[in-house]
Symmetry: C2
Subunit: 370 residues, 2 copies
């Protein structure tokens, strides 16, 4: 699945610079890890992730935007093209939804070989209270034409990927876009959006991996054919081989993480835990509004069921879980495994994916008990 | 300069795991880069860094703290030991200061060889408006005893470094601690401290590298001999060889950074710029309250003086600068170089330091103009 745009030959844009590698990491990967912030796993304790701790994946640069004069255009296959001010959008209604978002590439650094991209460990996740207007109302005002088969969303951020220059853009089918859940959001945790989270306006697509929630949203284009933008067709596609057509990345897969217990070593992050009763705490979530049914704690390969916290508000936020562990001196491996209401369960080993997407293998934490 | 505490033999704590290396990066380094957030350089445009964009260097775990019941103890060589509630501290007076903080290890990833630690590119910097009580008032209430020669500050964060278990702790001499500038801060940019910035209370030492500004501050101990904690004597020391006694890391060195112009490639971060007039913008700062005297823009090795923005409030925040560049097609290297009021100027090449501290060589950005 290659993009039709010709690939410039200049090395700055060389799509061949990235490879599948094992072992040590390139300076480019490290520079991306400097820019893109993961959530330290101890932050799992917060029902709603504090400002600045929600993960961030910024494809290009964070635009420097003044809200004065910002407008959202809705054009293409619509009956009534719109140019809406922020105030006009806010006047169309307001809802607040608690949503867990995870980057589709979370865990990429743990794969071997891995695709060279943002080298996430486990922290590319976070939960926020998003306040905005249901997208449906905006699209109904514009009136999707009968020939509209896809709806594309574009941000104010622009750059190159794979040799292709583009504004960041993603699409949703009319069925999804006109559903109950998708928001055009202007506030996060009761505050105006921070610049890095899409100020002044962004899409929030609950239940999907984060790439769908376009930040710095400034135009929506209804299309009479499927959107073929780079971020839609040339990445964020599950593939096992380069030749494969692949499957688009959409809903988050069932997953759980635990707060590493004890205290860390600065450099290795290895954990030292006191012997005795240790309360293990974590979070679990799944995609597309699917609830969590069960979480298991694994200790040295033996699994036992954890206690689920009361359900969070709505269907789109992570759920707390806890378990007691009697820690005995020596080396141990803790792990957690969630099962959702569809019966989907986290795999013990990561299924191979060319771009490192959809990693949801069980989370393992090595600890030393003294 | 080795620490007297015996080094445990367990590999989880093995201080020999870290080395000086060149080239590719370890998984441990990448995991640290996931946790510790740099400020993307486009954020230099903001006078005050937005929440969540200020750099963070978290040595151990971020404590999960409720403010109820938090108190600050002042003990040791003092005449009147104190246990102060947050409310009591707030009642002792309130000031707000704009402060630029930089991590002493900023730029470490650019060195070769480099010490394996947090592999910062250039983004370990940020500017905030800190609100708190002058430390002097607290120390005067406790009354430093005549034999007090050092004042140690401890946080609630605990872990291992170099095989040594400790609460994060740093000290200041009485002269510095009783000066006008050091704050015990409870608010940042007009909001209560975020968990990751030290909630509910932290030290802010303007003009110094960030390691001095102890987060989650819960006790102050006046000492009758110099503090010998790990973070004071076994790291944050400038050394060229392991044998050298070294010099403590204190005030920030003069430095400047520029916002990379144009648009980036996602993976390489290389920049593409349109030909014509380009406004280059950046920031410059120095340590210990020293003002910036001059900033120069370098284009392909030729330097010309930039225009300084009006000075920021106070003596501790970065200053904006700007310059116009007529970009012609081809490959170019932009650079910036600041000079402070002491006449200190950024070096063209990095001086060697064993731990990668105090990097202030000129910032260089390669761009392609079309």
């Amino acid at each position: 699945m290659t993009h039709p745009t010709p690939v410039p030959s200049h090395p700055v844009l060389d799509p061949e610079r990235r490879q599948h590698v094992s072992g040590a990491f390139s300076r480019d990967e490290v520079a991306l890890a400097n820019r893109n912030a993961g959530m330290p796993l101890e932050m799992l304790r917060h029902d709603v992730t504090p400002a600045g701790m929600h993960y961030l994946l910024i494809h290009f640069d964070i635009p420097f935007v003044a809200d004065a004069g910002w407008s959202l255009d809705i054009s293409g296959s619509v009956r009534n093209p719109q140019r809406l001010s922020l105030d006009a959008i806010k006047a169309m209604g307001q809802v607040t939804t608690r949503v867990t978002l995870e980057c589709a590439g979370n865990g990429r650094a743990t794969a071997s070989p891995r695709w060279q991209s943002q080298p996430w460990e486990h922290g590319a996740v976070g939960t926020a209270e998003w306040t905005g207007t249901p997208l449906r109302g905006l699209l109904e005002r514009a009136g999707l034409a009968d020939d509209a088969v896809d709806v594309a969303f574009f941000g104010a951020d622009r750059g190159f990927d794979g040799g292709v220059e583009h504004d960041y853009g993603r699409s949703l089918t009319p069925a999804i876009a006109l559903g109950d859940d998708v928001l055009v959001a202007w506030a996060m945790n009761g505050q105006p959006l921070l610049p890095q989270h899409g100020f002044p306006l962004r899409l929030v697509v609950p239940g999907w991996y984060g790439m769908a929630s376009v930040k710095w949203l400034d135009r929506i284009v209804a299309l009479d054919k499927p959107f073929d933008g780079f971020q839609q067709v040339s990445t964020y596609v599950y593939k096992r081989t380069r030749e494969e057509h692949g499957t688009p990345v959409t809903a988050m897969r069932v997953k759980s993480l635990l707060v590493p217990p004890g205290i860390p070593d600065w450099y290795t992050r290895r954990r030292l835990v006191e012997r005795g009763t240790v309360e293990i705490f974590g979070r679990a979530w799944s995609g597309a509004g699917t609830l969590i049914r069960k979480v298991e704690l694994g200790v040295d390969g033996a699994w036992s069921e954890a206690t689920l916290d009361p359900p969070p508000p709505g269907r789109f936020a992570w759920r707390g879980w806890r378990a007691r562990w009697t820690a005995t001196p020596g080396e141990h491996e803790l792990a957690c495994r969630a099962t959702d209401a569809n019966g989907d369960v986290q795999p013990l080993e990561q299924r191979w994916d060319l771009g490192g997407f959809g990693n949801n293998m069980v989370h393992r934490v090595a600890v030393t008990v003294r």
